[in-house]
Amino acid sequence: MIPMERETLLREASKLKLQGMRLRNFGDANEQREATLLLRKAAKNELAALELQANPSEEEQARARIESCGLFLDAHDPIRAAEQWNQIPRKFCPPNDEASWLDRLSPRYHEVVDHFGRHWRAIKPRPDSIPDAAGLSQEQIHSLATRYSGVPEFWWALSRYHKDQDALDWVKVLEPDYVRDEVATRAWQRIEEPFVQRLRIKVSPARRGGILRLDVVGRVATAFSDLLSDFVDGFLDRPVELIPIGATPGSFVWNVDAWGLPSYAIAELQERATVDPAEVGVNELVKLLEQLDQHKIDLTASIATQDTRPPQLVFGAERRKTLLDAARTVSEAINSNEIPQANRLERVFRLVEMHASGEEINADTFGEGPRDVVYYRRAAKILGFLDESDRLTLAGRQIARLTNEHRMRATVVYFESSVCGDGWIRWAKKQTLLEVEPESAQQFIEQCVSGLSATTVDRRAQTLMAWHADLIPYHYSKR
């Protein structure tokens, strides 16, 4: 028996969605505000309808969370959208098959959330704390409030600290509770929570009295960062940004803010590494385990906000050995981060040029999305134009000063001698790239590269085919 109230709420939500969308499409500036309200109310109705169900199935929960997340995005409120996104049952998130449920929502969600993360961090004076709303300028808050007009926290800050009456009127409509400063202040302090996972990564000597040297700790940190970034990008199809915000000595503990990291990623990494090391970027795993083994170090990692004992990821003495043996047996596979996902070589060259001229490289200056900047930087590393510390190599300097034609000729050789190009040629049992069938890219990746979702395999195969098409006219064995 379905409660009548649930149906009423859903009907009302449907009407509000359509009204809101019509105002978005046809309305003037004032009506855009009304659209924000209607869409926000529709999202809340969806959640209220879910609350009325006694024991909602995972599908029902997913449907309500997905719809309300999308509606909050349409209402220009990425904070509430992210809260809903985080509650979508794991079964419907990558790498599970049911992740196609998110097809419609996922690209829009990630685009908005990536932008929000950048805009928010730009106003933070320190990476490790929430900015004091009282210390921000009117211009800073206003810029956020107008971009994210459905976020009541920003309008509250404008009204509270800059005496903006229009902002106060808008807060009263958006979130009436925020007229009480203590409620709004608490909400302000929690703005980041839905977007970032605070990781607690601990390394400690396996033996009592052992000493952790700085160079070893540094290498372990790099190896762990590479493993986690590679896993999340290749398997969960998301870039993750790891920002250290503090450390404590003794056993050495880092607190790291992981922007874009799904809350279940650490547990997923532990599970996948145990079941099949090939799935987690096995070369990165071997590098980390060798560092730990060589220096007799234990490593654990947890999401700090989730009180998990034991930690979600544990590389202790016994497990380290077993895992290392298992990982070494499959480490012949090509690591997923050696395969480019950046179709346009001329954009790789542009990135190298920007490095050479000392320009700042970000989504705005490079003219691509934040993810694309990551992918093009990775492509430059794959071709040997940048080193792992993002410094220009000698090859990169050469590329920066060459003409376009000479760049392409040189890049033929750099690609053929890269792990990816060399692997593709050898897999195809050929001598040069010229003889390799471009259509074999997908099969090559499927057979030789571990830790990629089906979607990512397809995207990277597209890149290899695009590079093949671009490079072949300049191949050294052609006259």
């Binding site: 009907r11 046809f26 003037d28 029902e60 719809e67 097809d103 419609r104």
Partner: protein
């Protein structure tokens, strides 16, 4: 392929056939999508329906009178005027809203049922029954061009630079959807698919 009789559908009738609270919000986009001048007119669609007896082609003539529609929607003229004056802010959801309107017409003509709920971010878009774990509905899409080929790609998915799983496969996989249809619309040329996906 068999050709069925012509359906002549006056848009004003949609206020009777479907929930008027939903219809009123989609008609402005539908009118603008089919006729950028927002004037009275007749627009002929070829609608391919997959039936158990094979493919059936319907001809659907959608027509309207702005004056008649305005009786149901006092702000219609103002919205159309803003659209013609290019004062509307965004276009991205226009095709989606217009396709909702056309799908409601198809639901009225073919299924003779009513849409009870609308869902933006989960398939199916237009729900005919919201019983938990036994949903029934119609998944909708609208495209400005590419004809049947483009619609087929939406239906069956695509590989390539941005690989996508098709809407048909998505609906089949959804355990909590027990009855589903696809209603896909292209504005130029004016063609459409109506496909029963399950049961």
């Amino acid at each position: 392929m068999t050709t069925a009789p012509i359906w002549e559908y006056r848009l004003e009738r949609l206020y009777v056939d479907q929930n008027s609270g939903y219809v009123v919000e989609v008609i402005p986009d539908l009118v603008c999508w089919l006729d950028s001048r927002g004037q009275d007119g007749v627009h002929r669609f070829e609608v391919r329906e997959d039936t158990s007896a094979g493919a059936l082609t319907h001809v659907l003539d959608v027509s309207w009178s702005i004056a008649e529609l305005e009786k149901h929607d006092p702000r219609l003229k103002a919205d159309l005027a803003r659209y013609r004056a290019r004062q509307t802010l965004r276009l991205e959801d226009r095709a989606k809203m217009a396709a909702y309107g056309l799908a409601m017409i198809a639901i009225s003509c073919i299924l003779k049922r009513r849409v009870v709920d609308v869902s933006y971010y989960r398939a199916p878009d237009l729900l005919l029954d919201t019983t938990p774990s036994a949903l029934r509905g119609v998944e909708v899409a609208g495209r400005s061009g590419n004809g049947y080929a483009g619609l087929k790609q939406i239906m069956d998915g695509s590989s390539g630079k941005n690989p996508r799983i098709g809407k048909r496969a998505q609906l089949l996989e959804m355990q909590d959807v027990v009855e589903a249809y696809l209603s896909l619309w292209c504005c130029d040329p004016k063609v459409s698919f109506w496909v029963k996906v399950k049961p």
